[in-house]
């Protein structure tokens, strides 16, 4: 029971931090003309997904995080298709679960740097490309413009090429996340729950506050 409560709190905080970074940092990077999608997937999505998986070792947790982050993403004060971005985040979480499951990945058993780097490259490339394609399909459908397969086919090479930057970031970042996950951060319950709930609440209040301030 105690473990389940900790897991739920973990889903909430990791999901909220992921959603918060997507909305606040992602929008800022986009405004600055930087490749926000690549940076968000390469740094933040990978960081929260891998760290949470290594910390809690609970299959399915990342889907819960995707639901929390995706829901928070719906309150984006800027950007166009909120629902599409939210679904793309949820899809990224689901794809991460599938990759982890089918690669039977366990960083504990092997400390092989090549495997860690390779996992980062492959996982992030796959997450980024899948998220991009899903957004390109869903946006015109949700928007009502209609989805045209030829438009997607025309930009597939561009999508595949754009996956390189986040893949390199993923390859460089994964060994660092593995090291970070080994730091013993055992926190007592009386601090753990107020900290996780307080941080999550902060993320939601800032995002919803920003959304309301631009007229909802």
């Amino acid at each position: 029971m105690r473990d389940k409560k900790r897991l739920v709190a973990g889903i909430l905080i990791f999901g909220s931090l992921w959603g918060f970074s997507e909305v606040i940092i992602g929008s800022t990077l986009s405004d600055l003309g930087m490749p926000s999608g690549a940076l968000m997937t390469g740094f933040f999505a990978l960081f929260f997904l891998v760290l949470s998986r290594l910390t809690f070792r609970q299959p399915g947790m990342q889907i819960g995080m995707g639901l929390v982050a995706g829901t928070l993403r719906m309150f984006n004060p800027l950007m166009g298709c909120h629902l599409c971005s939210a679904i793309a985040i949820m899809a990224e979480a689901m794809i991460f679960e599938i990759i982890w499951r089918y690669l039977s990945f366990d960083f504990e058993k092997h400390r092989n740097l090549t495997a860690h780097v390779s996992f980062g490259i492959f996982a992030v490339y796959f997450l980024y490309v899948s998220g991009y394609i899903i957004t390109q399909i869903l946006t015109p459908i949700v928007d009502g413009t209609g989805f045209y397969l030829q438009n997607l086919i025309a930009i597939l090479p561009k999508i595949f090429s754009r996956g390189l930057l986040p893949a390199f970031i993923g390859g460089a970042l994964t060994p660092a996340i593995v090291r970070l996950s080994k730091i013993d951060l055992t926190i007592k319950d009386r601090i753990y729950y107020p900290t996780t709930l307080g941080t999550s609440a902060f993320c939601w209040i800032v995002v919803i506050g920003s959304w309301l301030s631009v007229g909802g």
Partner: protein, 137 residues
Amino acid sequence: MSMGTEKVLPVLAISVLLIGSFSALFVHANQVTVEKDIITINNQKYFIQELFESVDVKTIELEEGKKTGLALDKLIIFSNVECPSCHKYSITAEDSYQKTFNWEDMKKGILTEYKRTYFKDKAHAFWIYDVVEIKVI
């Protein structure tokens, strides 16, 4: 992580890097090189400045601020498309990025002097930079 996985992972990583690299080369090789100020509409080439002298300019307000440019619907009418509402319009960028729009969407869009399209109440995915062609379908 089984030994199998440990062997497969580098192969998967190299595969996606190769896919990405070849795609980048493909995109670069197929990049349309067009003259900076020219755009093709309905198979006719126009200078952007020429269009700005002949077609109505309008300003739309987006969450990111105001954007001013040629009204896309007026642009289509200017290019002598018969029955504009009977067609769809495919807008293509220099790097092959393209989106297809119906007439109602075109009424909400603009083309700026920097050859960028913006649409009111549409997602960023519909914003096309470095437009080279507007095709009538």
